[in-house]
Symmetry: C3
Subunit: 462 residues, 3 copies
Amino acid sequence: VAWGPALRGGLPAVCFVWQLSMIILFGVFVRYNEESDTHWVDYRKENNITSDIENDYYFRYPSFQDVHVMIFVGFGFLMTFLKRYSFGAVGFNFLVAAFGIQWALLMQGWFHSLDYTDGKIKIGIENLINADFCVAGCLIAYGAVLGKVSPVQLLVMTLFGVTLFAVEEYIILNVLHAKDAGGSMVIHTFGAYYGLSISWVLYRPNLDKSKHLNGSVYHSDVFAMIGTLFLWMFWPSFNSAIADHGDGQHRAAINTYLALASTVLTTVAMSSLFEKTGKLDMVHIQNSTLAGGVAVGTAAEFMLSPYGSLIVGFFCGIISTLGYIYFSPFLEEKLKIQDTCGIHNLHAMPGVIGGIVGAISAAAATNTVYGDLGLENTFDFTGPFAKRVPTIQGGYQAAGLCVALCFGIGGGIFVGLVLKLPIWGDPADENCFDDEIYWEVRQNVSKSNICHFLNASQIWPK
Amino acid sequence: VAWGPALRGGLPAVCFVWQLSMIILFGVFVRYNEESDTHWVDYRKENNITSDIENDYYFRYPSFQDVHVMIFVGFGFLMTFLKRYSFGAVGFNFLVAAFGIQWALLMQGWFHSLDYTDGKIKIGIENLINADFCVAGCLIAYGAVLGKVSPVQLLVMTLFGVTLFAVEEYIILNVLHAKDAGGSMVIHTFGAYYGLSISWVLYRPNLDKSKHLNGSVYHSDVFAMIGTLFLWMFWPSFNSAIADHGDGQHRAAINTYLALASTVLTTVAMSSLFEKTGKLDMVHIQNSTLAGGVAVGTAAEFMLSPYGSLIVGFFCGIISTLGYIYFSPFLEEKLKIQDTCGIHNLHAMPGVIGGIVGAISAAAATNTVYGDLGLENTFDFTGPFAKRVPTIQGGYQAAGLCVALCFGIGGGIFVGLVLKLPIWGDPADENCFDDEIYWEVRQNVSKSNICHFLNASQIWPK
Amino acid sequence: VAWGPALRGGLPAVCFVWQLSMIILFGVFVRYNEESDTHWVDYRKENNITSDIENDYYFRYPSFQDVHVMIFVGFGFLMTFLKRYSFGAVGFNFLVAAFGIQWALLMQGWFHSLDYTDGKIKIGIENLINADFCVAGCLIAYGAVLGKVSPVQLLVMTLFGVTLFAVEEYIILNVLHAKDAGGSMVIHTFGAYYGLSISWVLYRPNLDKSKHLNGSVYHSDVFAMIGTLFLWMFWPSFNSAIADHGDGQHRAAINTYLALASTVLTTVAMSSLFEKTGKLDMVHIQNSTLAGGVAVGTAAEFMLSPYGSLIVGFFCGIISTLGYIYFSPFLEEKLKIQDTCGIHNLHAMPGVIGGIVGAISAAAATNTVYGDLGLENTFDFTGPFAKRVPTIQGGYQAAGLCVALCFGIGGGIFVGLVLKLPIWGDPADENCFDDEIYWEVRQNVSKSNICHFLNASQIWPK
């Protein structure tokens, strides 16, 4: 096809040029921070740090690796559910994330880790976690367009997505001084509306042509469960990874653990209740069970209390499953938004709920519940924000949610228009959801070998 | 079938009502403990804790996440070996565990973490680990009845299982003051006999009707190896997760690492030796290789010594594999116990061995080997148990094993009778081991498409 | 076949005898070190260790578990890409590693952890990591001969491989005092040339007979991505696992994270560029994306700087992919080296590059960049090596690379000759890459059941 050469000219060039740019920019801007530099010994002495174990590395490295697994195995395998798009799911997820974390280290670095004494970005373990977080937003967006875009389009989506993310994150966390440890607003709301808006602009009226490939088979659903479970299990690490040392990380992990457990039960209940025969649908189990983790993101480090977490999870399982049953068809038919993975149900709605839960629980915070010092620590009421009180904080949290929505929708429409240019090698309608367009897929069954094949395949017994 | 509506009335109702009950009970009873509460700053000062890194969270969180993976991916995927029950394996495992951990936090909390000053259960990272442990017992039991029960039956099994677990655990660990860091007795012996007893009561004389589905295919065996390996790799974390800080966790990890390595070699040897053609059987590799981890559970934190661990693993690989070859058929034909996953070989026998090894190594402990302080630390010979000596401790360890056996068998028979009531929507004999009864399974191959299908399936070359 | 009985006499006997030998040797030689012994309380007091958290266990356990996953799931699943050798890939990997870690604890213990006061090897968490590392060398070698050797041959390869490894490691790290935190030289260069040399000696001119099995199918490629991703994600833990506490581990993780990200982009670029249709090849994505982790191994704990890591990854992605496209066919046709997994491209070339990068960056180290104390710490310029300077260190690093190459090639040729003896039960040319020769593979499709089978298989829709 004519598309092959177009890709040859596109994908390799983009990968090479962008990677070279990363090297140059890292050369100019990025250095180790004091905890990852060989001068650490001197830094320790100067700062009265008694032991190497107090290096931030030991507070955050286990969470970092869990988050890393969520990004590459979690998101990657969750999207392998399509019967013939597993290579694209796990492979393009890999490519996009590998580029995105580099660009995120730069973008977030300029906003958050710039050392003004020498103009360098100083990186440590927390930057790596934040880069993974930033990429998560883009991978969420990938879920909406899975199977319908080219790898170059994904890279462009990621370039703009990370840039937008860094700006909205700066506005929400630094300017508004909102808290968002697990990124309900910053990551999930932004990422989901970014992806949905792109999908809206890229609407394909004739996507029916590849309808036969837009679904799962038995084994692909099992592969997808690998993604689901690694996301589900490590979500407590996600929400606690950059929370405050000590009780902050501890509490965030507990809240997330509980919210997720609760979500599983209501997801199963709804899935069975709304299916005519009372059976369960793997689509719900793979996705809606995660909604509680999204929704408890903002409030995870607050004194949400264990039953509060359970309540958040309870409602998110219901809402997310209903989303798959009623809202996804509505989105596609009425709003012309084709959302392959149903990110509206898994990330958008729970993300918004998470932002609202965060705002309410911040506004409701009291000195009695948190303690004087605890309140100050949890909400960072220090420096220029020393005079802020919980009710005001609640307002700023709500404002943060609006910022995330605006950046997601506005940025998505803009990037969607860019991606509509006919230069990116996206697949024809009849080739969507098909790995063969971008991947070497070995085809070596001869028709004369049917018996041999059936003998060997062992799938169904006498 | 008539079964559909029954489930509709059953599963959603159970999920909703039980989850609501959890929320209410958590609201009444469960709060953060001092290390996960915002008052931690004050608590630190009062208790002269110099750094946030001494929060128990940092001692146990990496082990917790490993245990979490064992529960959800390890147990879940280990059971995907059946050719058409992978959804049920990984999906119902997910449901049961998500409910169980909540109920376990309550049940174990009332026994172990109740703050008598305010009547609240105070939870932290160690409670999360213990909740996962508690659920492990029920998931072991699930292995015996895999493919033969409905999800509602599994939830009932878990409700009673967790309750029984909390009581036997309290008796063994607190009343008898036996040690059982890795749960050979408390988790494995109890869980396995609980499941086997249930399976005995639920005996199906005509299970042959679904015999064609009670086996693996090539890919399902590879999926099961994901479960096996994550259980095997993270077992050192399991056995050390709630061991004493410092040398206790360190030693438990080493002992488990060694016992498991040894088991692999004897499992392979026995599997090859007892197969007529000298070939290996995936059933043994998937299961018996784990027996050493079970058997070293109780003694993992003792001074078992590295070669002691190897010896335990050596014999368990042999015994467990022999169990699959000789004992499982005997159990089914003579004792009428149908044990789908062979938990008798993987958990019951090694669990009992583990209890005995624990009793012997406790009785043989000496001040020379442990050091005066080390002996006191390891066995908690403090408070009301300050005068206990190792030989006496050995007796109490053995008593603990009996308690686990009694609770497992007695509880299992009782719960089995409850599950025999004809109200739980369990599958007919001919529908056992078949996902289609509880799950939407997409069937969309048209016969006219055989050639297309064979072209695409690529399984066998010319 | 006549081979069955041969194996019966071989594999079980080898497993039993070797495991018994391990038990005896461990009984004579191996004990807990001070940090995993119950005397730790006293040791803490004597050494002014203020908290249990300063036990080395807490510095290294999270990395250890990640490395453990790389060894068993990473290497195991990476090799499942062959359509009918997944049992052998993941199963023999499991067997070999379980034996190897025991033998490695002894061999490395004699060289590195022998307590001369009582003649015992004292083990702790760092020994477990090093044992896993040691086994990694043998598993790399397994990649070259995958599908062509018997399990007994693999065990023999591992016995000799671990022995040679321990000696070359001692020479490189202790005698030459070269640094190699991530093992570019010690693990990858040695392991790869060891495997390639064995494969050269075992050259099969008629391997074409099983050519139809020497390739992947759709699902096996997805399984292999599980291996790829867990290797890729946890490589920062691999390279930092035994680095210096504090900044050393921190920096090693950052450098590896960056090098690997960079490699992904150039691998994708090269894969697309050199395929006629611009498509991507899963072989490259599965393997070459890891080359950056190999190549940054030696220098990971140096002040390589973030952009330096990106540059290393950049070139390794290119070189490794080119290796698969041009060098592997050359190796097979001209040099008669059949390299099933392409370890020359993934481990040998990147390993050598890693050694060179290490030598150059060591030679270029300055007091300005490292700080006086930092330089001394990083390169251990203490004791007998107190007077060594960076330029000299660079020379010793290069010498270390030569030692690794010599041990790999020389040892491989010797072991290859041993394995050529006709007593090990290796498969005939037409049975290579086929699980059925060593494993029970269930075959139960009846030809009359084609329609039922196709109805159920759901792979291709109308």
